[in-house]
């Protein structure tokens, strides 16, 4: 028997959201379907629903972020939760101790959910193993490992534009090696049964055995995006690079930067995505970023709805578990 998935309760409902690995297609589709409902909240005069009234959500950002932090904050507020956002600089030497200490202190304030971003892979998982029962943990990005809400907002954006995943060719371009976003996208695309998944990158920005990611590998951008329905550009993660992995950003753009001309081989109705923040003139030029095929800003709006859905599902599960306990 496989070990129980820490993310799920004994009935398979979502309790923590740490990684897309090991989650079923049914569960991913359930998240996407719920997101459709939450998308409408932004169109209400009062952009709020009362689902998580009385709950407290703590955003623990050990690594800086603007978009992810603010969209998580807005998502929690639109669910009527109270939100604390803590920007904590990561301390590498006493990481474990600092983390648990912070955690115990916040638990003493009766926090119901932690949203965690950390430079170390596995940090959110570590916290989920140590929180009190009844508290949920959501991974907002851990090292190179996983960024599951980003993965799901990308799937949601693709589904809204393209529908059925089985017919799609999806090309992911750029720094695969350091990208937790790519890892989450690849896991989700596999589970949702995408027709063909490609990764396009220089050899220095690919993991040792790129084929193990379940994708076709290309080193030429024009070839890689040929007939693609979806082109996902990744951010070049200078902060995670050690040594000379790239000659220069200029040279990177010459080979792997997306321009209208290089996009010409993709399907005419292809969409272009980027998790942000964009390095204009490095991953893509402004013409593409602001062009008609770009859905980059839509990804941001969708991100709030996806995060609302995931938070509501986790808190809903905890509510149900608390109710079961009360009757035992």
């Amino acid at each position: 028997m496989p070990p129980p998935n820490i993310q799920l309760d004994d009935q398979g409902h979502l309790k923590h959201f740490l990684t897309l690995e090991g989650l079923s297609r049914e569960l991913l589709i359930k998240i996407l379907d719920k997101t459709e409902g939450f998308l409408g909240v932004a169109r209400q005069a009062v952009k709020k629903v009362p689902l998580c009234r009385g709950k407290t959500v703590a955003n623990l950002f050990f690594e800086t972020s603007t978009r992810t932090r603010t969209t998580f904050e807005l998502a929690a507020k639109r669910l009527s939760a109270d939100v604390l956002t803590l920007n904590i600089a990561a301390s590498s030497t006493s990481k474990g101790e600092t983390l648990l200490d912070t955690l115990r202190n916040l638990e003493a304030m009766h926090v119901d959910m932690f949203v965690v971003r950390h430079a170390e892979s596995g940090a959110a998982h570590f916290i989920a193993q140590h929180v009190a029962p009844g508290v949920s943990v959501i991974n907002a990005g851990d090292g190179r490992h996983s960024h599951p809400t980003q993965g799901m907002l990308d799937m949601f954006t693709i589904r809204r534009h393209k529908g059925d995943f089985s017919r799609l060719t999806v090309a992911i371009v750029g720094d695969i090696l350091h990208s937790r976003v790519a890892r989450s996208q690849l896991a989700a695309l596999r589970t949702l049964g995408a027709g063909e998944v490609r990764i396009i990158a220089p050899r220095t920005l690919l993991p040792a055995e790129p084929e193990s990611l379940g994708a076709r590998v290309f080193h030429d951008l024009r070839e890689g995006v040929r007939d693609a329905d979806v082109v996902i550009m990744l951010r070049l993660q200078r902060e995670r690079m050690r040594g000379a992995m790239l000659p220069s950003e200029h040279e990177y753009f010459q080979l792997f930067g997306l321009t209208e001309e290089r996009l010409a081989t993709a399907k005419p109705d292809a969409i272009v995505m980027h998790p942000g923040p964009i390095n204009r003139g490095v991953e893509m030029d402004s013409q593409v970023a602001d062009g008609p095929r770009s859905v980059i800003l839509e990804q941001v709006s969708n991100g709030i709805a996806v995060r609302m859905a995931v938070m509501a599902l986790c808190i809903g599960t905890q509510n149900r578990l608390a109710q079961v306990d009360a009757h035992d």
Binding site: G37, F38, V49, P50, L51, I315, T317, R320
Partner: protein, 179 residues
């Protein structure tokens, strides 16, 4: 539901809804409302509302409301398994609304629907039309127009469930909760 029995079939229900249409028109005339907005509650309420909308020949498009995010049992059972997008095509501010649902029982659905509506704006008034009214109210909520009253002898059974199936054909089925 386990064993089910049809309480009213499509023909009977269409006749009931036609009568509701007439009753609604009378109420609107009485109150001097000329251009109401109709909003159906997912899912059964939308089926009834589509028919009423046609009968009353309303100009404004029909709104649909999902009340999952406003239910009071989230704190007990979590997120409702079926969440559908709400869609109110017209601003509700200062408009006269007709809210339509299939079965009025505890009144909790209508409470949730009213809360949801008021997050879209401040309507001038809200009227309630329901296909079936039964007992067991838990909140001070009443319908302005009712299609059918469930027979008293049936309604005494608290475990009896009344469910509208559809959208085409409509049927009202009775059954008992399992377990």
């Amino acid at each position: 539901m386990s064993a089910t029995e049809i309480y009213a079939d499509a023909a009977a229900l269409e006749a009931v809804i036609a009568r509701m249409g007439t009753a609604l028109q009378d109420k609107l005339t009485q109150r001097g409302i000329i251009d109401p907005l109709m909003v159906g509650i997912h899912t059964g309420g939308v089926w009834v509302a589509e028919r009423l909308h046609r009968i009353l020949m309303l100009d404004e498009p029909l709104g649909v409301l999902d009340i999952s995010f406003y239910r009071d049992d989230f704190s007990r059972i979590g997120l409702h398994p079926q969440v559908r997008p709400s869609h109110l095509p017209v601003e509700v501010d200062d408009r006269h609304l007709i809210l339509v649902d299939d079965v009025l029982q505890t009144g909790r659905t209508i409470r949730a629907a009213l809360n949801s509506l008021f997050d879209y704006g401040r309507p001038a008034s809200v009227m309630l039309a329901v296909l079936v009214r039964r007992g067991w109210r838990e909140l001070p909520i009443a319908a302005d127009v009712t299609g059918l009253d469930l027979k008293q002898e049936l309604d005494r059974d608290g475990s009896l469930q009344v469910k509208l199936t559809g959208p085409d054909p409509l049927a009202l089925v009775l059954g008992h909760r399992q377990g």
